[in-house]
């Protein structure tokens, strides 16, 4: 399996990355080089093996923790927006999306 330039364009779009043509080609060859070593992983028989997400779940049950549904954070809007690229009256500004 090797990624084509078309695959790279599709993935870059999904990842919301604009790649220059030279960058795109370099990345294609590097990623294909990497997937050569991934092939040994695909050959492993994992029938009946449960995927491991939280590593400590390998030895004990790790339950997803839930907290009470109550307000716990004060209003920090001003501080949180202090380094935002563009704000106006407490709102984040983006280019117009609805004509």
């Amino acid at each position: 399996m090797a990624l084509t330039p078309h695959d790279i364009d599709r993935i870059a779009h999904l990842a919301r990355l604009e790649l220059q043509p030279a960058e795109s080609e370099r990345m294609r060859s590097q990623i294909n080089g990497f997937f050569d070593i991934v092939d040994q992983m695909r050959a492993v028989d994992t029938t009946g093996v449960e995927p491991l997400a939280h590593p400590v779940a390998a030895i004990q049950t790790v339950a997803l923790r839930l907290r009470d549904d109550v307000v716990s954070e004060p209003d920090n809007r001003t501080a949180n927006q202090q380094t935002a690229p563009a704000v106006d009256r407490g709102l984040f500004l983006v280019p117009r999306v609805i004509e």
Partner: protein
């Protein structure tokens, strides 16, 4: 004060004692280390310092000392890897994406250490978003290895390791996702420990791969690492959903325990043809020291060691691609100056803000999570991850701890791996297995190899076995003086 010139040669334990006994003030200590940092600026260890902030914190520590406060690290200056957010210093994560960013809050690790009395010297260089093994992926240029400034310090906590090795800070924080504390500690001849996954809060650590990222201390001695680990670990149930509900420990308690009868597992896969002869010689000599201390070496097998490379380099980029989707030029971080619409703004902001390696990992991660490939790559990797964790449990039936090299070679030359990312990935082979399994691991100075460069011995414990690792490292440091050596000119 007559002790000032030698302040930077004191350990954290010694410096904390001098501060408590008022032999030196926190302000004097802070000034001393700030001056050293400035004098050694070409090493590239620091990304940000702020004398006024540091001295204000130090003055506060002196006031607490005068009032009889007995916090364990009161007045001890430390610096943080620039992956921890701090409200008093900028945070970049080594990325142009976050140039100029200022967090409205402190990471839990930062605030826990501040509570213990630590004074912050500044923020330390690292690979961009902690992705790298050489610090060369920092958008602000690599830090240099003080043992040979033409070599890499290792990564991603490269600036952290440089600061300790060059005596610019008595101790620092680092983070380890696939070896980012252990490998730079090994390359720079210092001591570092990554605790069990879930021991230290990830709140306020700029996320790279959330199921792997873990914070830990780096210092010159195991005794210091124990002090720091005791302060920075502990449950953070309201802030980090993966933080374990396991109480903090006093990791100094077992430092002097006997190693008589301890079974040290030596994985045969860590000593194959990929291991360079100089590293092997140093590691073998360290293992002999342990035999002299009463431990017994047991041959074990970690059969999926090499598989750790593709498994890690699927899982970590997958999680990274998801975590880094937050950098879209809207709420914080870089926004492109020219764009046609919202989509174009996202794509240009991200293209301009991220460096090569980060883009590569986002691409790999996006691909392996995309429709039709998820099962074959991401899920398959998570299944092998469990097999790797099970291999460790099998091995721990025959041994109490595992020891081997941290990395196949000593630090390589800056630019030595060229533009081949695979060369960096392959060099991570000995640190990735413990990362995937979430086990505690540490690097302890074990001598020198090619070019007079430091070699680290890796110790891997079972879950929650940090005390045993620190005990082992401490006993080795009582028997050897590798950890006391300093680079020339430091």
């Amino acid at each position: 004060m007559s002790t000032t010139p030698a302040l930077h040669n004191l350990t954290v334990a010694e410096l904390a004692a001098q501060l408590r006994q008022k032999q030196v003030s926190a302000v004097e200590a802070a000034r001393h280390f700030l001056a050293r940092g400035a004098a050694h600026a070409p090493l590239g260890a620091y990304l940000a310092t702020d004398e006024a902030v540091t001295l204000a914190q130090a003055a506060q520590a002196d006031a607490r000392l005068a009032a009889g406060d007995t916090a364990p690290l009161l007045g001890v200056p430390m610096a943080h890897k620039d992956i921890f957010v701090t409200k008093d210093f900028p945070t970049t994560a080594g990325s142009k994406m976050l140039a100029g960013y200022r967090s409205p809050f402190d990471a839990t690790v930062v605030s826990r250490l501040a509570q213990a009395g630590v004074v912050t010297l500044g923020k330390l260089n690292c690979d961009e978003f902690a992705m790298g093994s050489s610090n060369e992926n920092s958008a602000f240029g690599p830090a240099q290895n003080p043992w040979d400034t033409s070599r890499v310090p290792g990564g991603s906590s490269g600036g952290s390791a440089v600061a300790v090795a060059a005596r610019l800070a008595p101790a620092v924080t680092g983070t380890d996702t696939g070896g980012s504390i252990r490998q730079p500690a090994s390359f720079c001849g210092i001591t570092g420990i990554k605790p069990t996954y879930g021991r230290a809060s990830r709140y306020g650590m700029v996320a790279f791969a959330s199921s792997l990222d873990q914070a830990g201390p780096m210092a010159r001695t195991a005794e210091d690492c124990a002090l720091l680990l005791s302060a920075l670990c502990g449950p953070d149930p309201d802030r980090d959903s993966t933080s374990l509900d396991v109480p903090a420990e006093d990791y100094s308690r077992h430092l002097n325990d006997s190693l008589e009868g301890l079974r040290i597992g030596v994985p045969q896969e860590f000593f194959g043809p990929g291991l360079s002869a100089d590293v092997r010689a140093a590691v073998d000599a360290a293992l002999k020291e342990y035999e002299k201390l009463g431990a017994r070496l047991v041959s074990i097998s970690l059969p999926r060691t090499e598989l750790s490379i593709p498994v890690y380099y699927i899982i970590a980029p997958a999680e990274a691609s998801s975590n880094l989707s937050r950098f879209d030029g809207v709420k914080f971080g870089h926004r492109a100056s020219q764009y046609t619409d919202l989509l174009d703004m996202y794509k240009k902001s991200r293209a301009e803000g991220f460096g090569d390696e980060v883009k590569r990992r986002i691409m790999v991660g996006t691909y392996v999570l995309s429709h039709g490939y998820y099962d074959a790559y991401y899920l398959q990797a998570q299944k092998i991850r469990r097999m790797i964790a099970d291999d460790f449990q099998q091995a721990f039936k025959d041994c109490d701890v595992i020891a081997g090299p941290v990395a196949p070679t000593v630090a390589w030359k800056l630019g030595g791996h060229g533009s081949d990312p695979l060369a960096d990935y392959l060099a991570d082979v000995f640190t990735l297995p413990a990362s995937l399994a979430g086990l505690p691991g540490m690097s302890v100075p074990a001598g020198f190899g090619e070019g007079g460069m430091p070699v680290g011995l890796q110790l891997i414990g079972n879950y929650f076995g940090e005390s045993r690792l620190l005990n082992m490292a401490h006993r080795l440091q009582q028997a050897t003086d590798w950890h006391q050596r300093a680079p020339e000119g430091i």
